[in-house]
Subunit: 236 residues, 2 copies
Amino acid sequence: MNDLANAPDLVSDSDEPKTLAETAYRQLRRDIIEGVHRPGDKLRVEHLKDQYEVGAGTLREALQLLVTDALVVAQGQRGFRVAPMSLDDFADITRTRVLLETSALQQSIELGDDAWEASVVAAFHMLSRAEDKLADGSKASREEWEMRNRAFHEALIGACPSRWIRHFQNILYHQSERYRRLSLFRQPIPRDVHAEHQAIVDAALARNGAEATRILSEHILRTLEAVRQLPADFIN
Amino acid sequence: MNDLANAPDLVSDSDEPKTLAETAYRQLRRDIIEGVHRPGDKLRVEHLKDQYEVGAGTLREALQLLVTDALVVAQGQRGFRVAPMSLDDFADITRTRVLLETSALQQSIELGDDAWEASVVAAFHMLSRAEDKLADGSKASREEWEMRNRAFHEALIGACPSRWIRHFQNILYHQSERYRRLSLFRQPIPRDVHAEHQAIVDAALARNGAEATRILSEHILRTLEAVRQLPADFIN
DNA sequence: TCAATAACTTTTCTCGAGATTTTTGTCTAT
DNA sequence: ATAGACAAAAATCTCGAGAAAAGTTATTGA
């Protein structure tokens, strides 16, 4: 029996990139999430290898890594494309996220120790500070808010012992990030996100799993509604 | 808005392999699932490229594809390894499978049409025939049973509209296949699997979601118990 | 004018060799 | 005898060029 208690994640994400392929992978991933390469675009190796300053085989590996995240689709013998976006897809992503993330939060609340509580409070504090800065309208802090929002959601489910749920949740979070950028750019702070986060933290620390998962569900689903109210052709 | 109703799967699996890399990928996947390459083994490119008769870069791509399935883990600058196996990991896989597969089955039962019912009945019939042959103890039919068992489980959730749930379920099924082989080789037919399948089909066709998901949960979890009762060192 | 075929261009896929990094083995000094 | 450091070996990672396939344009015949 292997020791799996402190096993590493299924795909390392927090580590520094140690290979050129991984560096190109991260740049490409950011460019796809930010919309530099638009959904459905063809990703030609010959063109991109110059842009990202790596060899053809290396860029190919980077693209393969993006297939794992389902940000790129590969059709045999016909190259790579940026994964398409659609409202149906986002609805699917969101609902699946709710399914996984509520289950993970429930387990976290049941199993989390003092250190977990502390990490949740800390992540919430960091996120709150970022929201303060965001109110000023600084552009650089938007990137920071994204990272801390992600860290907050990860902290919430940090005590969930299931590596698989966390792995899948990680993939879905990347996916939804693409869509969330659409809605947040248009409506800077449309809803009281802070209050929602606060309510989740309160319920979680009170070990009220039912309440915490209920609020989290609504919180996630609200982003779906926000995207639904965008102009119909904006998603393409 | 893109049409996503009949969109292709996230990773094509049923299609024929159109590239050498994909051919090598399938061979490697089978060898890993069947235990030719054991958990934790190092997968040296220089050694394997001769064995699978492809170039180094091509085999590298095949390994990258296996990382997507989490059957292989890649550590930057330190090569590839067969993903380790452990009882904790299998418990995690199984519980996550239950979470996803019951949700998918519930939706299938709610949304499935006549064609879905027919595909379930057909897959169940194929599986039953394979079980008849398996009773004779033929070796070739074991492979067949695996394929049809998989097809049966896929048919059950075939009417679930969530591509993401089906995608994740697909990955987990491959994973659990590695473990299931351990238990089924030792105890040819330890439990009345046929009756369990029959009960699921009956409840599904009766549109009794609660009953169907309950039986499916127990059905999946029973495999976990079977593996738990193996000799402790057998899993390594 | 339109459809089908053929030649051409672009792109993907594949391979082997060279440069870095990790691992292994040996030797020396405390 | 053990620990540390240096050197040799193995493996990984990277690159550019050649082969196969897909996509595009031009030509020919009805």
